[in-house]
Amino acid sequence: MQIRLENVAARHPAARRDAAAALRGLSLQVAAGEQIAVIGPSGAGKTTLLHVLACALPPSSGSLQLSGRDPWQLPRRQLQRLRGELFLAPQVPPLPPRQRVVTSVLAGRLPHIGLWQSVRSLFYPTAIAQADAALARFDLSDKLFDRVDRLSGGERQRVGLARALVADASLLLVDEPLSALDPTRGQQAVASLTEAARERGATLVCTLHHVEMALRNFPRIIGLRDGELAFDLPAADVTPERLQALYAQHLHELTGPAPSEELPAAVSPHVVMHCR
């Protein structure tokens, strides 16, 4: 899927009115099938950019075009259909704790199967082989029928990525896929993602804290800083000086490990018991 952003500004719906917008005047063009890594210090607007691309957040100004269409001009039903062609993998994997891994992975197919088939798949999964193949790419085949809450944080994150592979999407938007993974697993996960995107000709946009990993695996690198484009270069042209400038005042993020977001523990809130 082809992307065209022109002078896009966006802010989170819950943000204060007087707070600076998370994205300010961003222009960007991405051809179909390209693979891009978005880097930049925390708070640079990486996640907001993914949300704008996923049609999860309407730009407050400027224009977004996906394959030549402005999604926000579409009627709601068609917009929802378009969302089915995109896949946004959030940083915290959205997995219900009591669900089985196979069901969680197959949830990626939902936009492309009917309601009847999706309900039937709850009783007996209808594409076990597909789920297994996706999990195998992340070295998780043995967890196919385990419950999600029996997995470690890193395993959960990889299950979330496996779901992206099952989704039949032409634009994959992956937010910080490595925050809970060690370097070896991380490299393997990124390689699986890029390979799978290449196989199906899908466009891949991935935010990464791990700059080295980004430079090694992605041909095109976008540097974001304070909601603005710092640079948009082939990986080979991203010099240490540019990185220093991008991460000025945040140098510890450039050298240190990626700040990992806490995975929410499976807490069951107190049940209200009242007779009336």
Binding site: C55, P94, R98, L110, P111, A167, V271
Partner: protein
Amino acid sequence: MTRTTLALPMRPELRDPAWRGRVFWALAALLLLWPALVLTEFKPWVLLEAGTLKSTLKFLGDFVPPKLEPEFLLMVARETWRTVAIATAGMVLALLLALPLTLLSVRALSISALSGRMALMPAVLRQGVRWLLILLRSVPELIWALVFVRVVGLGPTAGVLAIGLTYGGMLGKVYGEILESGESHVTASLLRNGSGRLQAFFYGLLPQNAAELTSYSVYRWECAIRSSVVLGFVGAGGLGQQMDASMKMFNGAEVSTMLLVFMALVWLADQASAWLRKALG
């Protein structure tokens, strides 16, 4: 040293500042309670007057021994079973009513609310369904039972319908609250990736809240059993109706048997529901 300890309580800034407020509110509560006692003709000493005491003791004296004739016991067993059946059938009806209404009213399944505010029409529909649930629930099942006894006649059908309507409203409202109070990340992610609302419900919202929903339903079933006995008193069938009849005949022995059976039934339902809820953990 001794002089200071003696002088300490005398200093006005060391008095407990909360004391006055406490005394004031205690007196105010008593003052407010008084008209309520007058209004409800609360005169407990009537219980101890000679005439009342005599008839009370006579009625209570009949309680021992409870009636234990096989024929009567068989009838009680049948009516107990009918009470459980009324409660269960009422719950099924309530579920049939509550599930679609819950799905219609849950804000977590809104697609338009994914990006900013919910659109006008869905918001109006959801609020409308919510009001319908509140309306259903705000009429006590006893009133529904009285209405239905007139419509469908004396018998368990009225009880089933009464429980179904009130509990449908109750379940719908509480289900909605449970579904909206949980973590919305999973459901929102599914909707954001293009799933339908029902798909997002089955793959996100339901697995996330299934244990709580089941646990609350089981608890409500237990409430329904207790409630269906009360409904019997207005002619909606079951153990309650028999108890009402025996009471009107001042047949203490029969009342005491049925009371004992009722207590056992409530205890059993309580145990079953506690065990189920624990198993669901």
